[in-house]
């Protein structure tokens, strides 16, 4: 853009801002500070809109959009700095049953409770997001592989142990299945590949009976006894030994 052909200065009063201000009020953000129409006021409005559009309305967690941004940023950072990062994906077990038997209001309370436990169970630097209906994700930068299991298990246990009050006389317990994968250090990879690997572990956790953690094995514990059995077990190989 050529600076000399810049359009005439912007007059904020020409902008239609009613809908934006209404959205802010509804989200409980209040109006921006400063003189209405001033640059500072407009910046405040834009900042608030960005904040709203990056959060999940029900739980206040990062939404799917800002999760994708954070994930891409983390992949870049891992490839550059070489610090291991862990991605966890979580799914509330039998959530449909909660909605069907206790009602959608109860379902919302469960989602909020899980969100709050998640947020409390990790470090402030970690990104906790609601990426789908009853699906959550956590990005843990600089998480050594030795700690992966511990943090995922802590999250699972805290959710299991936290009763959700859905009415003055009723509380219910929910559980989550957790899948996780570490970002490959130093290696060119992609956010999609990383998510797929974590999702695969989540499917494993579900298939193994739910309310459990499955992390992708790291290089140290790579070949299972089962695989070794198949590798050496056939008669064809024994013939040659």
């Amino acid at each position: 853009m050529n600076a000399r052909t810049r359009p005439a200065a912007l007059d904020p009063h020409d902008l239609r801002l009613d809908a934006a201000l209404q959205l802010l009020e509804h989200a409980g953000q209040g109006h921006p500070h400063g003189e209405p129409g001033s640059t500072a006021w407009l910046q405040g409005l834009i900042d608030s809109l960005c904040d709203i559009s990056s959060r999940d309305a029900l739980t206040g967690l990062a939404n799917r959009r800002s999760f994708q941004v954070a994930l891409s940023r983390e992949i870049d950072r891992v490839a550059r700095a070489g610090e291991p990062a862990l991605l966890l994906v979580l799914d509330i077990d039998h959530f449909k049953r909660v909605n069907d038997t206790c009602g959608h209001a109860a379902g919302d309370l469960v989602l909020k409770a899980v969100a709050s436990v998640l947020q409390d169970a990790v470090r402030p630097m970690d990104t906790v997001a609601r990426v789908g209906g009853e699906e959550f994700a956590v990005i843990l930068p600089n998480c050594p592989s030795a700690f992966g299991e511990a943090v995922a298990e802590r999250i699972r246990r805290r959710i299991e142990n936290r009763p959700v009050v859905i009415s003055p006389r009723q509380e219910i317990h929910v559980s989550v299945s957790v899948g996780g994968a570490f970002a490959p250090q130093w290696v060119r990879s992609s956010a999609t590949l990383w998510t797929e690997r974590a999702d695969l572990q989540l499917y494993r956790a579900k298939a193994q009976g739910r309310n459990r953690v499955c992390l992708e094995p790291t290089a140290a514990s790579l070949v299972s006894a089962e695989e070794k059995g198949l590798l050496f077990g056939t008669s064809q190989f024994q013939d040659l030994e």
């Binding site: 130093w186 290696v187 070949v223 040659l240």
Partner: protein
């Protein structure tokens, strides 16, 4: 090659092949050096880069006493051109040299240095062989990630097979490597390489391919018979292709080079 078209004459880049194994002591460096000589005989301009930064021994295999090594390039003491040496077999080498232990962990600095070296040599050669260290360390994984293709060297020993399998699995799951070349070294009878490839492929099909939702294919590119000439050449610190060109192992290396040029 004889009729380069106007647009690819200056932009030709080396094919980069990582030679790796999982387990140490399976003849990785022996293969890198002799394969380089065999490729050079076929007219390729070949560079072997000793990427085993912690425990480099390409200099030992080639009986070279380099004054300038990759270490000096990394520290900025010398230029890359000064560190590229001519090896006996008609190819070029970049030796890690001693004093590289401090680089055996992949810091951002080492990573950038390696990347820079590989990018710089790419346009000048037809083939670059990256002789990686043993194991599945982050240095090895990073080095392999720079390569167009991976050659895994294994012997029929169960420990070697397990480590080769672990390597294939890590490369498939972390780098989406779905095509891996396999060389079986020190085979005791003809056809053993084929059996071993079958064993590995079977486990890969069952466990790895379903993990990444894609078929991972192992291609057997050669088998090198167990041959006393190899031991003798290594003892003399000479290339097998130079001192025993007629040995069965040397012929197998020649066949391997032919296969890789296809």
């Amino acid at each position: 090659m004889s009729t380069p078209s106007a647009d690819n004459g200056n932009t030709r880049r080396a094919r980069i092949t990582a030679v790796t194994s999982g387990k140490g002591g399976v003849g990785k460096t022996f293969v890198s050096a002799n394969l380089a000589a065999a490729l050079a005989r076929r007219g390729e301009r070949v560079l072997v880069l000793d990427a085993d930064l912690g425990l480099a021994n390409l200099d030992v295999v080639l009986n070279l006493y380099p004054k300038i090594t990759l270490h000096d390039v990394f520290t900025g003491k010398n230029t890359l051109d000064e560190a590229i040496l001519q090896a006996p077999g008609g190819f070029s080498v970049l030796l890690a040299g001693s004093g590289m232990v401090e680089y055996s962990r992949l810091t951002p600095e080492v990573r950038d240095q390696l990347l820079n070296v590989v990018e710089t040599v790419k346009p000048r050669f037809d083939r670059v062989l990256l002789d990686t260290g043993a194991g599945i360390s982050d240095v090895v994984l990073f080095t392999v990630s720079l390569a167009d293709d991976v050659l895994i060297v294994a012997t029929p020993e169960p420990t070697s097979l397990t480590d080769a399998y672990a390597t294939i699995k890590v490369l498939a799951t972390t780098q989406q490597r779905v095509a891996v070349k396999l060389l079986v070294n020190q085979v005791l009878r003809p056809g053993e390489g084929k059996v071993i490839r079958g064993q590995l492929q079977q486990v890969v099909d069952r466990y790895v391919s379903q993990m990444i939702n894609a078929d991972v294919k192992l291609e057997l590119v050669g088998e090198i018979p167990s041959d006393t000439a190899v031991r003798e050449a290594v003892q003399r610190r000479q290339l097998l292709l130079e001192c025993f060109p007629g040995s069965v192992a040397a012929q197998a290396v020649g066949a391997l080079a032919g296969r890789l040029c296809e």
